[in-house]
Structures are given as C-alpha cells and as structure tokens.
Symmetry: C2
Subunit: 412 residues, 2 copies
C-alpha cells in the first residue's frame, strides 16, 4: 500500500504533460504561448510537450487567432476523437452502459433491467453481454478504446478492482476487474457510484475546476462522493461518504428506525421511502389529491416518479411533501457544509428527478442552519446528469486516468 513518493525525470515529463493537457481540457482553446504563460514553463518546453500530445492525438490544432498585433497564435483544443470509453453502471435493479468520446459525449447507450434477487452470475453475464454490445458500438465509431469504467454501489478495492461489499446487492468480494478485463482485454477501472458521479461533475458537469465539493447521491439511501483538495477522498477502506447515517437526535425512542439498525439516521428523513411515507401520511388525512387517481390509472404503487407527475400537475400534497423532504435533506446538507466548507454541494441520483421541487426548501434550510460565514460562499445545485451521473462517471474515471497519465496513450 506504500505509494511512491519519489520522482525522476519520467515523472517530471508525465506531470508536465498532464498539467498541460488538463489546462487545455479546462480552458481550451489556448495557444502554446498562453500555455507557457499559464504554466510558467518555458516556451520551448511547451512546444515539446504539445508536440508529444499531438502525436498521441489527445489534442489538435483547431485554428488561428490573428487578433491583435504580432504573429497569430495557433489554437489548440482537446481532440474529442482521442478515443472512446465504455462506461458501465451496476445498479440495484438495472445495468446500464454507454460509449462516450474523450469529452464525455454519449455516442451509444443501452440499459437493461436486472433482478436484484437473481444470482450474481446471471447479473454479471447480463453485464458482460452489454459490454460486448458496447464494444461493437466502439468498433463502429472506429476510435481506439481507452478503457472500461465500472460504477457500482458499495466499497471497492481500487488497486485490485475488486468490489469488496455492496449491501444493497448482497455481493461480497467480486473481482470485477478480472471478470471484465480478461474477456475484453481492456484496462478496467472499478469505482463506487457516488465517487464516479463526483468525477463526472468535476470533469464534465457543474463542478468543473472546483477543488472541494460534495456529491450527494440521493435514492434508497444517501451516499456521498467527497471531492476534497482536488481529489476523491475514500477513507481508510473506501467506506468514506456514508453521510446518510449521521445521527440526528439524542434520544432513541420514537425515532424512525434505519435499516442500519440505528434510529434517527439522517437518511431515514430524506431518502425516497421517506417521501413516499410522507405522501401516504398526507393522503390518510386529506383526499383532495390527484395521486390516488394516478395510482389507479397506472395500476402502480406510490413512487417518486408518480409523485413527481402529480406535482407537475399542480397537486399541492405532492408539492408539499417534496418541500418537506427538501427541508429534511437541507438539515443534513447544512451539517456537510459546516464540516467541509465546500465550494459546492451537488444533489444527484434517482431523487434528483424531483430536484426542482426539493431544491427551494433545501436551499432555504441550508441557509438557515449553516454557519453564516460558510454558507454565504457555498453553492447548492442539481447534478448536470440526473440519474446518469454515475454512468457518465464510470466513463469519466477513464478520462481522468488519461488526463493524469497521458503517456498511457501511445504515440502514433
């Protein structure tokens, strides 16, 4: 587990290549001269680094800026066709895959249902079949495949690409990297779903260039992707981010029990079941809602999307239930804001479909319950990718790996 803390010339080259590539990724278009100014590196060094990145087809010259006096600058941007990436999300009741280009644009996508009660092998076979389809799509776009990213609930051993434990799937110690790299020959990355989503927001979404932010994955539970000091924070064993189980009250009696065995966990007040419970409770008392009619019409039980539908049609019970949930969520957000003093807190995951209804009361509660010096600096917003945050994130992890180690892509 001892990480290399030493440097040599290859390290210098890799670091400077990465630095230039990230700068172009974030601020393109840029000329060589601008790169030299912004990095502080020598012009000749920049020329050499740029030539290297051009050879690897990670960047390309896109035009000439002849504004102002002097020799016009050659503008450089990221080459979206640097390669394509397969991103896979293992959900509790579905499996999804995408093929994206190097800038995260979706070139292909497919999703299939999965039975949470089915055997591991079956779900893994389904997933592998989906990956094979994705590889066909990659061949069609005729780009080199940079890697396969896999987002999964639970904790992950990053070095070995092993899923250690996923409570919702009841899976233990699955060597996902091995399972997916052997039949495909691809470089495989395995990452926790909330962490993957955070990387997606960092590279392609609403947290670009931010150094410190938190992604809250709201669904059955509340999970957090912690992006701190410019990198993911995973904790000792990869469990970091279990924000949903912060205790919310001092007395054990009369509090909502949580599936973790405790009572009063934050997530019991702010997960999707809690919202459904709220609506149920309201309907007991008041019957002026369109919800029962909707349930009958769709012949479906109460769900977030159904409540959302009701809210869209102006149903006050639905709207108020979301607002209450938003406030409960905001309490926890406020705690996070106080602990982390982040630049931004992003809400994503299944519940974010109702984001427009949750956000106002959520923001208001955060303002009220965070320390004033901190809250005035923090932004609270919705994920740029909605339910797809982890899926895009799976691909984003591969992109981030290339940005960190450009020499992994061969010169051509």
């Amino acid at each position: 587990m001892e990480s290399k803390n030493t440097a040599d010339q290859a390290f210098v080259r890799e670091m400077n290549l990465s630095s230039v590539l990230r700068l172009i990724f974030n601020e393109a278009p840029l000329s060589r001269a601008q790169l030299a100014t912004k990095t502080g590196l020598n012009k000749s060094t920049i020329s050499s680094l740029v030539e290297d990145l051009l050879d690897r087809q990670l960047i390309h010259e896109t035009g000439i800026n002849s504004a102002g006096t002097g020799r016009p600058a050659t503008l450089i941007e990221i080459n979206p066709k640097a390669g394509c990436i397969v991103g896979v999300e293992l959900g509790v009741d579905f499996v999804a895959a995408v093929v994206t280009d190097f800038m995260g644009s979706i070139l292909w996508r497919k999703q299939v249902g999965a039975d949470p009660a089915a055997a591991q092998e079956k779900t893994l076979d389904q997933t592998l079949a989906l990956v094979q389809e994705a590889l066909v799509a990659c061949r069609d776009v005729n780009l080199p495949i940079l890697g396969l990213g896999l987002a999964t609930p639970g904790t992950v051993d990053l070095n070995d690409g092993v899923l250690i434990f996923a409570p919702n799937l009841h899976w233990h110690n699955i060597p996902l990297r091995k399972i997916f790299s052997e039949p495909t020959g691809l470089k495989v990355f395995v990452e926790n779903d909330a962490n993957a989503a955070a990387v997606a927001e960092h590279l392609f979404g609403t947290a670009r260039r931010l150094k410190d932010f938190i992604f809250v994955f709201a669904g059955i539970g509340l999970g957090g992707g912690l992006f701190l000091n410019g990198q993911l924070y995973r904790g000792k064993n990869g469990y970091a981010g279990e924000i949903g189980h912060s205790p919310f009250a001092m007395a054990d009696s009369l509090l909502t029990p949580c599936h973790c065995g405790n009572r009063g966990c934050w997530e019991t007040y702010a997960n999707q079941y809690s919202i459904i419970q709220r609506v149920h409770a309201r309907l007991e008392v008041k019957r002026s809602s369109v919800i029962p009619a909707l349930m009958a019409e769709q012949n479906a039980p109460l769900s977030i999307s159904l409540i959302k539908l009701a809210a869209d049609s102006g149903d006050q019970e639905a709207i108020d239930s979301f607002a209450e949930a938003g406030a409960a969520m905001g309490r926890g957000f406020a705690g996070l804001v106080n602990i982390f003093n982040p630049e931004k807190v992003i809400m994503g995951g299944p519940l974010s479909v109702a984001g427009d209804y949750l956000l106002p009361s959520l923001k208001q509660t955060v303002s009220k319950h965070s320390l004033p010096e901190i809250v005035q600096e923090v932004e609270v917003g919705l994920s740029a990718f909605g339910r797809d945050a982890s899926l895009i994130g799976a691909a984003a992890i591969v992109v981030d790996d290339v940005l960190a180690n450009p020499t992994l892509v061969e010169r051509r």
Copy 2:
C-alpha cells in the same frame, strides 16, 4: 491562488530529499541501503541525497549495525539539534509559547493569562513579549531558529498568514505574519488551532504515519482538524472542520439553543458547558455529592477541572455526568466515523483532561452508532498532548514545512 502543477529537476530533487527525510523521521534508524530499498531510488541517488541532508545537519550518522553477514550498515537518524522552533498558541484567555527542538521536545515553555475583554493591541503586545523571551531561550540553546508557528482559533489565510476571523476572540483580519515576522525576522506560519493539533499528532503524537484521521478539539465548542489523504483539509475558505454544528434533531422546539443561533447542534450536548449543566441538574435532585463542598472549599464556580477532581475522589454524580457527556460526544463521533472512514479519531483540547472518564462511554456509543464495517477498523483515543496539542502543533507546523522543503535549511 493557482498552485504550480509543473515540475522541473529542482522539484525532483526537493521531492526526493523530502521523501528520504520523512522516511528517516518516521522509521529511523535506517541505513542508506534500507532507504534505497524502501524508496525504490537507486543506491547512488540515496548516497547523494543523504550527503545533502547531512550537510544541512538535518540528519546524522548515529551508529553501525553489524548484525548479520556482509558489510555493516551506517545508521542514520534525524538530528534533533537540526534547529529549534518557537510555537505560540493564542488562546481565548491565555497566551502560551514553547521552544522545541526538531523532534518536538520542549526545551522551554511559558504561559500567561490574557483578558478576553482587553484590546487586541494589548494581547498582541503580550504575545510579542512572550516571543521575545522565547528567542532568548533559543539563543541559550545555541541552535538555528527554523521558524515561528502560531496556532489561533478561527479561520486563517495561510498564504498571507492573516487571521481572518476568530469568533471567540472577536478578532477580524489580523495580519499575524506581518506582526510577528517584522520584529523578529523569522519565517512565520499561522494556522487554525485544531489543524495545528492534528499536525502535532501526525508528526509527534498518536497519529504518526496515519493518512486519514480526525482531531476533535473539545472545549467551549467542538472543532475538528481534518487530516485526509495525508494532508490537512481546510475547505474553500479555511472554515472546514466546524463539526460541532451538525444538526442533531429534526424539530426545532424544545432543543438546546446553540450560540450559532440554531438549536440542536451537536456541540450543545457535548461541550464543556453542557457537562457543567449536567452536573448542576444532578445536584438539584441529589445532594450526596462532594461537589458543593469542593466548590465552597475552593471558592470557585463549577468547572471541568473541579468536576474532574470530584470524579477522581469517586464522586458518582461527577462520574455519571462525564459518562453521559461521553455518550453524547460519541454520537457525533459516530457520524464522523461514517462520513470519513478514518483510521483514527483523536479527542483533545481542554475537555480531554477528563478523557479517562469520557472515553469508555464515548467508545461504546461510537461502536453502537457507526456502520459495523467501518467501526471495526477505527481507533478512538486521547490526544498525546492534552491541553498542549495546539501549542505543540504550532511548532509541528514549522517542522512539517522543513520536512516538506529540506532545502530551506542551508548547507553548512
């Protein structure tokens, strides 16, 4: 605010020097050959780096290990006399200073009371006088002075060494670096007290070599020093670590109001006032305690140290009050454990004088309320330095700076 992300050969040298120095700091005694194995650097490179560090007198050869076959190894250790450091803690009602050697041993120490109501200038003058005394002590030990570290409550602009805001002192925008470097000519570091304490534990205390741990500074409030991914985490504006204001309950009524304006903040159940309140409440009901007698005897109001005294003499009311407070503290610790999955959580600050009474119920509550996968890996313990953690931390920050940049110390 753009940090240099580029490298050159000087950077490589600095990084490798630092890496070798840190390794010796953590695992001395070591031979050159062992250093080569552990770092992965070439033997000749290690020889060159070691010679460099010897020239700077940061390390010295301390003996020969002729166990086993082959040529005996020359053992190398940190030179405690590499220099001395002045550490200063600006408390709410006191100012303290130490002079330490390079290994954090205290060579001199002095503390004076400060009036929280007094003008800033007066307190700063007091502090400066204390520093001048410390400098005399430095001259006596005849070691080069490596720097001056200053620990202060509140938020800090690290780059400029400015105290931005200290709520308990009611101070705003004090350019501490300027104030202390101009009359002394020293390199001055300013850091938040909880963060400084965390660095002390990391270098000299019970968190040596740990990558992820949390220092909880328990006193009037509850502050946190977050040491994550091998470095301090400060957040966007340096406010990170305000763990005491995590909301603890969903309903506003009937909850303890906090000085931050909210109700139900964790720290209102676990700070030193809460303990005093607990004891007061118990004494109302039951009079079999020695505490009233102690208060009369010392002609002093109820305080933590007085309650500790009572507990030491076996007073059940005092002991039970501490146990209750420990449990309340444990609830919050459990939340931190779930969020951070740290290797260790350390309790320090004024309240840690009663640590032996708080810890059993605290640990028990943490076990009960953290997720089982996480809690089985976490250690919970007391600070190695008690009330002095931030003071030692002030010096530790200077040591850490030298460990990170050995070339700052000149070759001789």
